[in-house]
Amino acid sequence: MAVTASPERDIVVPPMQRAFREALYAGAIALGLFVLFIGLRTDQNISNELILVQRWGLLALVVILTAVGRFLYVAYAQPFLASLKVADVATGLLPESMATRFFRIPYLFAAIIIAVALLALAGSLDGLLGPDLAGYARFLRALAIIYAVASVMFYFRSFIHDHFSALGVSALALYPVVVVLTLALYSGSVAGGFQGSLKWVDNFGIQILIYVMLAWGLNIVIGLAGLLDLGYVAFYAVGAYAYALLGTHFGLSFWILLPAAGCMAAFWGVMLGFPVLRLRGDYLAIVTLAFGEIIRLVLINWREVTNGSAGVSGIPKVSFFGLISFNVSDPNYIAKVLNIATSSAYYKIFLYYLILGLCLLTAFVTIRLRRLPVGRAWEALREDEIACRSLGINTTTTKLTAFATGAMFGGFAGSFFAARQGFVSPESFVFLESAIVLAIVVLGGMGSLPGIAVAALVMIGGTEALRELDFLKRIFGPDFTPELYRMLLFGMAMVIVMLWKPRGFVGSREPTAFLKKRKAVSGSFTKEGHG
């Protein structure tokens, strides 16, 4: 961006000519890249023969779009940005002036009006505009709402920054209530509100919170102790199967099995910890990855106990400490106890608060542990293991406690997962899950609880939101499934965030003690650990 602003500008070719040339290059590169991806496609014809479909039109479209985009960027966007000097050359970050340009009060009002108008018309949109345009209208409405929320957050950014934890926790606590109330108003009945809340509370709320909890657990191992663990999903699996098997075979309650599952996962964390104590970096990563696979293969092959790939089903539901049950047939079913209409939403809302509680427990323990000697020793271990030993810290037990504590929270999350699904199978515990959790930790900023929570919201919420983009089917054809592109979204989000903030959303580190004033430690000083 800064190129055009440099003194060389006098001798470089005029922007238009340069833009034209670069557009040609970009087009050529796009052609070379996509000729086999887009231009040709293998398919099966009616008699199951493999045929080659040629899509030169689509290829031409992509190439032309690339070239035009490059042309516009070099010819107009670059000089514009350079003239505004908006980009900080050193960091590549957009300064505040850009944000104030983007978030303006009139725009906010416009967005709110659009959102409200479209919300009011929601029921009759299809009739008014036809199904095609209605889809776009809904998308526009979503954008308007996002813009309005983003600008409100922008205007109150310092307040939000100062009270992030309190605001976050209260927002999470109120979330199901708000969802139910909004939907009840919308549909005109309380029952409708509960029914409609299922998707929002279960698919979004619970799903995201499970990943928040997993990522916070993994954060202890990676973010604090600096031990790269690629097999974290193994502990999730141990927790899930511990509850699934003990719950179905022995009928033990969730409230007994939750700590038991945590202990079992912690035990396996120590089991994993012992052999890998002497390993670092890549070697540690490989061994932990293998450990995760071993657990999964044992679950698949030990059929007598785990029922193999068929999984364990019929896992009992969680009850409210045995007082209130969520099984319709039970005498103490919630609707009978409270004299309200039967609905499956109560259980989901209960589960939501349960996982929220577990998340808060994880956060509480993590924050407390960081201020205790063991947590400081974890961070010291990440910074310099040899110095730790010279100060009399037993690095063996310190590493093992990190593995065990991280694994314990994985086990809690696992048993919750089993209770929520009612069914577990080894398919839920593939390496991809470990990778996603790791990606959330890295994206959020290693060691930072709020950053990781935001990263989980973006990654998992983003994935779920892709399912909502049905109107894309109208553009790309009916066999287009947006959620299949979530890995692409993951990759793009990772690349963008790592370019923009290489240390994750929250790169700085909060000191655990202070003498005069608490000052965040810049990410450039902290180390990632040796693995």
């Binding site: 205790l372 310099d384 040899i386 100060l391 009399g392 003690a513 430690v521 000083f525």
Partner: protein
Amino acid sequence: MNGQASAGDLILQVEHLSMKFGGLVAIGDLSFQAKRGEITALIGPNGAGKTTVFNCITGFYKPTEGMITLSRGDGSTYLLERLPNHEIPARAKVARTFQNIRLFSGMTLLENLLVAQHNKLMKASGYTLLGLFGFPSYRQASAESIDLARHWLEKADLVDRADDPAGDLPYGAQRRLEIARAMCTGPELLCLDEPAAGLNPKESASLNQLLMDIKDNTGTSILLIEHDMSVVMQISDHVVVLEYGRKISDGNPQSVRTDPRVIAAYLGVDDEEVETVLTEVGDEDVIEQLDTGPDSEHGPGSSSSFLAGPVTDTIGHSEGERVTVSKGASKAAQVDARKPAVKPKPAAKKSTSPAKPAAKSSTAKPRGGRK
């Protein structure tokens, strides 16, 4: 060799310490003692094995042979070569610093000093359990640990920067912080590996002050490796000179300073003098030979003198402390045999250990003999 000093006022006794890395003898039969409440300096040319001695004392290496006895003030004694690495600071109360500073750079100064009090705080927090539930006993211990940290930050003149990350400090301050951190473990013996390396004269002076303060006010004994002779000569009570993993001199700074073997080895004389001494001791041929570079058979053909140029570590090892020393008796005998050939030195006050005569022939000759 020992026995003249009563065990009571000795804090550290190193007896017949040998450290071999494969065929390389980094330390050969080294014996020395450090008295309680004194500053003992361990000096020697590059590659003399000083850091290896430190690593043996602080448990980072397990010595091949020998005994390292530490006597604490309460009368208990520890055989350091038998203790696991992390128990040496924890139980034997030996703290150390590193030649290349090892701070927790992403943690604040205060946190660095709190990490150093890990074991004490761990007990106070009931191995985390009591602390997790916020028991008052832990809170009190925590407040005390912060007071101790503040005390040492003040001593190290760093209290203004207590809440800054350690990696943000200038070099000299990092050195002082590392010493303060080591002191926070409550050591009885503080091992400092080149604390003055890379410091300017002013910083070096303030370091001297800090070390004297530690010695006078805490009763902590100090063992120090140093190249900066101004530091060594000013503050140390006792100097041990190593060369090729063997002791060549041992005594108070003055006697060491005048010991011709030490002078020959390198101490505080300018190049011309060294040359003169070398010529006296050996001959031109030897000096010539020294400059020819590494011995193909035994790795670095290094000499003790600065004239020999950098010691090339032909046998790769991270510490750079390896030295070829005689392989077994035959070599020692060879060196001994050569001793009369060399102008015999008047034996200084030090007790003559069997290892000494070998080293006695000082710089040039033994090395020449080895080639």
